[in-house]
């Protein structure tokens, strides 16, 4: 059973539809008590970093999420904003501290904006190392991205995938033990994206 965290500002619908389609058991919650008893946590999200942190704090799930990831070490997967929230800090809409599960901060996309429109929106090929997350996928598979900020990951071993926009390499995914995150929208990346969700569902609890 996967516990899907509902921040209330996410495209929660598309994530749930993908899990249902794959016949993966899940339930949606924004309650601390349910998060604290989760076997596996999925944190999707779109929107701003600050709004995300503030929502987690208002819902009193910030510390429970940290506890589950760092102490209980349950498999934990963040997507897009969900990924960014797992870093130490960010300032989209005002400086905030994130969950701090991975070293690094969230910064505006470091591309030449006069040449490349931001958000980075659309399908891009991802170069990944052989990790559980990408099992069953062809090298350089395309995923759907849509974001204006990126994670500047300071843990080189955790950074398992990149994508390039212009000549800038963006951290596309992190896998460090039970902690996974992806900048791309796995739930919207057709069969390759569904495969990543299946891979997460297959991680033993």
């Amino acid at each position: 059973m996967i516990t899907v965290v509902n921040l209330g500002i996410s495209n929660i619908g598309s994530v749930c539809k993908a899990l249902s389609f794959l016949n993966i058991d899940y339930h949606v919650t924004d309650q601390a008590s349910e998060i604290l008893s989760a076997q596996k946590i999925f944190l999707p999200g779109v929107g701003g970093f600050t709004a995300g942190v503030d929502t987690m704090k208002a819902k009193k799930i910030f510390d429970p999420l940290r506890e589950m990831a760092l102490i209980k070490k349950v498999p934990f997967f963040g997507i897009c904003l969900g990924m960014q929230l797992m870093f130490e800090s960010g300032d989209e809409g005002g400086a905030r501290e994130g969950l701090g599960l991975i070293k690094g901060r969230v910064v505006p996309l470091q591309v030449d904006r006069s040449r490349y429109p931001v958000p980075h929106m659309g399908w891009n090929d991802v170069q990944f190392s052989e990790m559980k997350m990408f099992e069953g996928l062809k090298p350089d598979s395309c995923f759907y991205f849509v974001h204006s900020f990126e994670a500047d990951c300071q843990d080189p071993e955790a950074r398992v995938a990149t994508t390039s926009y212009g000549d800038h390499a963006i951290c596309a995914a992190v896998e460090k033990g039970s902690i996974w995150c992806a900048q791309f929208h796995s739930e919207r990346s057709q069969s390759v994206g569904l495969q990543v969700l299946k891979n997460f569902a297959g991680v033993p609890c």
Binding site: I12, S20, V46, M121, Y144
Partner: protein
């Protein structure tokens, strides 16, 4: 490398898929669920679904239709039609939309763009502008007529308000399957710092090339996919031949 998108547009009137010509005459193309599912099968880059009667009929796009489509389509789903409040937008996102198109509501209440962009992020908000040429000048077109507003100023303003993408529709070429309005495209790209999607008039796969070369991030189309032999794959192959990266 970022791939250029080819985006089918599906227009609905509440019950059925329709295709308009110059925003007027319509052809009924059947059941929205079937049409969306076909595009999912075709592995398209994104789908734009618009309820073109919602605004004028004072309702918003049907949530169950979105839910049914989102249940089986795992490509980005962009939804528009009668969305007038942050609550309306939240409801469609909960049903499975990834982005929302604001057109009429943005004209009537620009603050909605600011508010929703703040709340859901700029990447979620597509500012849509219908543009018609009259006496050699471009105008914003709304509710069946041109209005006294410069479309390029409006595109600029939509971005300032927080739209993360701009969707430009040529009213004159809609459904005509003749050619794209490259002048309109150049002018729209010039005032945009966010991705621009162009729609209106593509007749063949090779028509997708010039707009991209003029700087739009994606070309959207409907008639060519409803009425001709050309599939989205053919269009992307043509882009690839022109040296434009696509996802095949």
């Amino acid at each position: 490398m970022l791939r250029t998108r080819v985006i089918p547009v599906v227009l609905i009137d509440g019950y059925s898929v329709v295709k308009t010509i110059q925003f007027g005459v319509r052809r009924n193309q059947g059941n929205p669920i079937t049409v969306a599912r076909i595009y999912n099968t075709r592995n398209v880059d994104e789908l734009i679904l618009l309820d073109i009667d919602a605004s004028e009929q004072g309702r918003s796009i049907d949530l169950f239709t979105i839910e049914d489509i989102a249940s089986e389509c795992f490509m980005p789903l962009t939804i528009g039609g009668g969305l007038r409040s942050v609550e309306d937008i939240r409801a469609v996102l909960e049903k499975g939309a990834d982005k929302v198109v604001l057109n009429t509501a943005a004209l009537e209440n620009p603050e909605l763009v600011r508010e929703s962009s703040h709340y859901f992020g700029a990447q979620c908000i597509v500012g849509s502008v219908d543009i018609k040429k009259e006496n050699d000048r471009y105008y914003v077109f709304s509710k069946g007529q041109v209005i006294d507003r410069d479309p390029f100023e409006w595109i600029r303003k939509l971005q300032d308000l927080g739209a993360g993408e701009i969707f430009v529709n040529s009213v004159d070429l809609d459904g005509t399957m003749t050619h794209c309005d490259l002048e309109l495209i150049s002018k729209a790209v010039e005032v945009s710092r966010v991705p621009v999607i162009y729609a209106g008039g593509v007749a063949s796969p090779s028509d997708f090339v010039a707009p991209i070369q003029k700087g739009v991030s994606a070309v959207a189309a409907a008639s060519i996919f409803h009425f001709t032999r050309w599939t989205p794959d053919f269009c992307k192959q043509e882009l690839q031949k022109a040296g434009i990266p696509v996802r095949l």
